[in-house]
């Protein structure tokens, strides 16, 4: 099936999310859509999948114009989509999820799940998916859930499969398996639209690469094009992929974690016996695939987790068992991973958000009464210092862009003397300009002698910032390696290999190549 997008434009009010985008997907082709977060890739795919109406432009299937009133039409035309956030009903079984919207029925509208099960098994066998139709989706690992999504598309005879950031939640190994599946699908004559901002994967999987920036197609490239060329195409200027930073001069070790274990409500050990130190003036990055205990680790330090055992000391003071407020008062600065949920109150003003964890202390409050003047003055200073682009200090924080929201969070955390700084996914969903700014501020904090802990799932960020790297896998520490280690070693560790083995294996491979 040949799929063509001609001059697709999508406006949301005054914003242009897609600006005259042209795209051709040929049968048996893997066509990658490369672009930064927020470049307009997902909007485009939602238009293609019938979730949004295009403002202008048309879609051709096998050279015939089509209009999609909803996803149903798109599916009927042979387009399937695997969303970045899986569209699976967690309490349903695989069969129920696959049947939904496309149910085989017996008399009287009664479900015939048996037929659905049979079809799932057939597809599962054909591609080696190993999916049990009767498993409940919420019990399945992420990688398997993704296969269920693919099955959903295949059951509906999709000829074009859109994969939206499919590797964001996968381990390197699961990613490899996915790339294998893509190759198989391609061999069967299916077309794949692969949406990603990860250059390596795009290069590995694509036949054609279309680069999108700020809602426009800025060029197409061959997978063999050099990474730097693709990167500069993607971000619109030549980017120095490395940050200028001086080597660290670690001082005294003031932050120690010993045998830290965090239990989830179901009894599972989500953080399992962690021990590590962070010294003054160094950045320790916590790397790992999302969901391997990083969130719980930072929350345990902040006092946000129950069922924490072990010890966390800052300057000799125990933090386990303390309330969040006490941890904050002990001088811990924290940038949570999801700023719109944990970092900011979207409906509060920027000024209020800038004192969100200092509202009850001087100079903002005297007793129970808060001082407007002090709050406004603080806001003015921080907005200027951190170059927060906002209409005014009284604008709701939720109206700011991701980068500016993150600046508000950072400004708040850096505006008190810190003994430890923790940032989780500090630049997720942040534009390139702000990333540089935020990274510089983090390094500056390190150079000022604060122990810094960065949690990131982006290897680029980890390698850019870290003086040392700790890798988490299923709540366990795979080891701590220097910040100069190779990606291969980190990849192996992220897939569950202890540091020494990973180092040895990576060394062997290199040796073999030589």
């Amino acid at each position: 099936m040949k799929l063509e997008l001609i001059g697709i434009t999508k406006r949301f009010g005054s914003l242009v999310a897609n600006d005259h985008i042209d795209l051709v997907v040929l049968p048996g082709q893997v066509h990658s859509l490369l672009g930064e977060n927020g470049a307009g890739k997902s909007t485009l795919m939602n238009v293609l999948y019938g979730l949004y109406d295009p403002t202008e432009g048309e879609i051709l299937v096998n050279d015939k114009p089509v209009t999609f009133k909803g996803p149903g039409d798109a599916m009927a035309a042979g387009i399937g989509m695997v969303h970045q956030h899986f569209m699976l009903v967690p309490v349903f079984t695989v069969a129920e999820n696959v049947a939904l919207g496309n149910e085989s029925t017996k008399a009287g509208g009664m479900l015939n799940l048996q037929e659905t099960r049979t079809r799932i098994r057939r597809i599962s066998d054909q591609y080696g998916f190993d999916v049990d139709p009767d498993a409940v989706v919420e019990d399945l690992p992420v990688g398997v859930q993704q296969r269920v999504e693919i099955i959903k598309a295949l059951v509906r005879d999709a000829e074009v499969l859109i994969l939206d950031e499919p590797t964001a939640v996968l381990t390197p190994r699961e990613t490899d398996e996915l790339l294998g599946i893509i190759a198989q699908l391609k061999a069967d004559g299916k077309s794949i639209v692969f949406i990603s901002h990860k250059l390596r994967e795009v290069k590995a999987v694509s036949d054609v690469i279309t680069v999108v920036r700020r809602g426009r197609v800025v060029g197409t490239a061959d997978p063999s094009a050099p990474t730097t060329e693709l990167a500069s195409l993607m971000v619109g200027r030549s980017v120095s992929l490395t940050l200028d930073k001086k080597p660290s001069t670690p001082g005294e070790v003031t932050f120690r974690v010993r045998d830290l274990t965090v239990q989830a409500a179901n009894g599972q050990h989500v953080v399992d016996g962690l021990s590590f130190d962070v010294a003054e003036g160094e950045i320790l990055a916590i790397a790992g695939v999302q969901g391997n205990g990083q969130t719980e680790l930072t929350e345990a330090i902040m006092g946000l987790q129950d069922h924490v055992t072990g010890s966390i000391t800052l300057g000799g003071n125990e933090l386990v068992g303390r309330s969040v407020k006490e941890v904050i008062r002990a001088g811990v600065g924290f940038v949570p991973e999801d700023r719109s949920v944990e970092g900011l109150v979207g409906t509060f003003s920027v000024a209020e958000n800038l004192i969100l964890n200092r509202y009850d202390g001087a100079p903002f409050a005297k007793g129970l009464s808060m001082s407007r003047a002090a709050i406004d003055k603080n806001a003015e200073e921080k907005i200027a210092e951190f170059d927060v682009r906002t209409q005014s200090a009284s604008s709701a924080a939720g109206t700011l862009s991701g980068g500016n929201q993150q600046k508000v969070v950072m400004a708040r955390e850096f505006s008190r003397p810190l003994k430890l700084f923790i940032a989780s996914q500090p630049t997720r969903g942040v534009d390139v300009g702000s990333i540089e700014f935020l990274h510089r501020r983090i390094v500056a904090e390190r150079d000022a002698g604060t122990p810094v802990m960065i949690v990131s799932t982006e290897l680029d960020e980890v390698l850019e910032l870290a003086d040392r790297i700790a890798v988490l896998y299923r709540g366990r520490l795979m080891g701590i390696v220097p910040g100069t280690v190779s990606r291969d070693v980190l990849g192996l560790m992220m897939a569950g290999m202890p540091a020494d083995e990973a180092l040895a294996q990576a060394h062997d491979v290199q040796g073999g190549n030589l």
Binding site: V341, E352, Y359, S401, G433
Partner: protein, 465 residues
Amino acid sequence: MTPQDDKPVPSPTDGEAPLTRRDAKDTARKDEARLENAVETAGGAVPPPAVPATAAALGAGPAPESTLMQRIMTGNALVAFLSVVLSLILGGLLIAVTDQNVARTSSYFFSRPQDMIGAAWTAASSAYLALFQGSVFNFEGDSFVRMIYPLTQTLTVATPLICAGLGVALAFRAGLFNIGAQGQILIGATFAGWIGFTLHLPAGIHLLLVILAGMVGGAVWAGLVGLLKARTGAHEVILTIMFNYIATNLVLYFLSTPAFQRPGSTNPISPQLDATALYPPLLGPAFRLHWGFVVAVLATIFVWWLLERSTIGFELRAVGANASAARTAGVNVSKGYILAMAIAGALAGLAGVAQVSGTEKVLTSGVAASFGFDAITVALLGRSSPWGTFAAGILFGAFRAGGVAMQASTGTSIDIVLVVQSLIVLFIAAPPLVRALFRLPSPGARRARKGGSTTPTPASTGAAA
């Protein structure tokens, strides 16, 4: 850092999905993505001159609406006014349709339609006239006292409505749906009443103790809900509804015990409260208006200060707007829930005091009337702001006071007041409906998107979710 990357953008969240606590995460991500789109597309390859922040602020559109609280606050006065008018018209129609004369004249509608129209007009207008006379100003009164008596009646009825409404509003601001004002009033009145008729203390101290007891009673009853929610995650809507029924039965039980039951009576009624335990009349013995109204005004001022100017209010609002962020910022969310409910209960308890020491002077299981439920509509109409609640309390107080007079003089059942009140709240909650009915331009029209014809509404929220 390139200057074009981040510049102030008009809020693309205007006319966007209402935020609920549940999907806040998703929506927030969505908004964020959109905002980034906005930044990137607006920034463009060729940087436009950066708009000075002040200019952008001046030219800014309507304030971004994104959560219940904010929308409740940024209510459109015109929509509110039209909602009241529309509800009164519908109520009038209902009065006319059920009127005997209208029914009679409708039998010969086609020969003399003016008779029926006239009868309908007479029915509705006389009812509303009686309502007005009974609530604001009685121009047929033979003395000044008689003339302004209705207005003082309105304020008297408004007193418990304002107090309990403030309680509901405060809980709303902390993200809690307090349907339980009814039970809190009852328990508050029980505590207050018991002090009032059991202890015999000097004037002043007695009343003070009565007020305190009423607040404590309400606070304990509501605080229990807060505690259960904080400790077990039970939903406060169900809890408060159940607590209302438990409270009613509890009070009935108390009134069957010697400690509460009037000596010699077999009915569930308490002895009269001591004179020292009663609110003194505010305007002299000719009027029923008592000092409880002044307490209600003070309560309004207090709630305003608490919410807008105090650290406690900051915490409660943060918990209500985004509990996760509040918790991450060191606010004790559990404590926030308990505190919010306890203060809300204390305010409802004040309403109980207004009843038991102001107007009723005895404790019965019906002492709360339906003020607890009316308080919800009062808080909604008042958009959860203290002064809005105050005004809404007076409006609904007028309806209720006038309704009694209307029922007495024209025979129109006071239930019509419930109909009008609930219609007002429904309409106010759905501004697009009101705009459509009055052919007003929709502020969100320019930004209308697919499936987005549903403009956000004041009351849409997930606070309950």
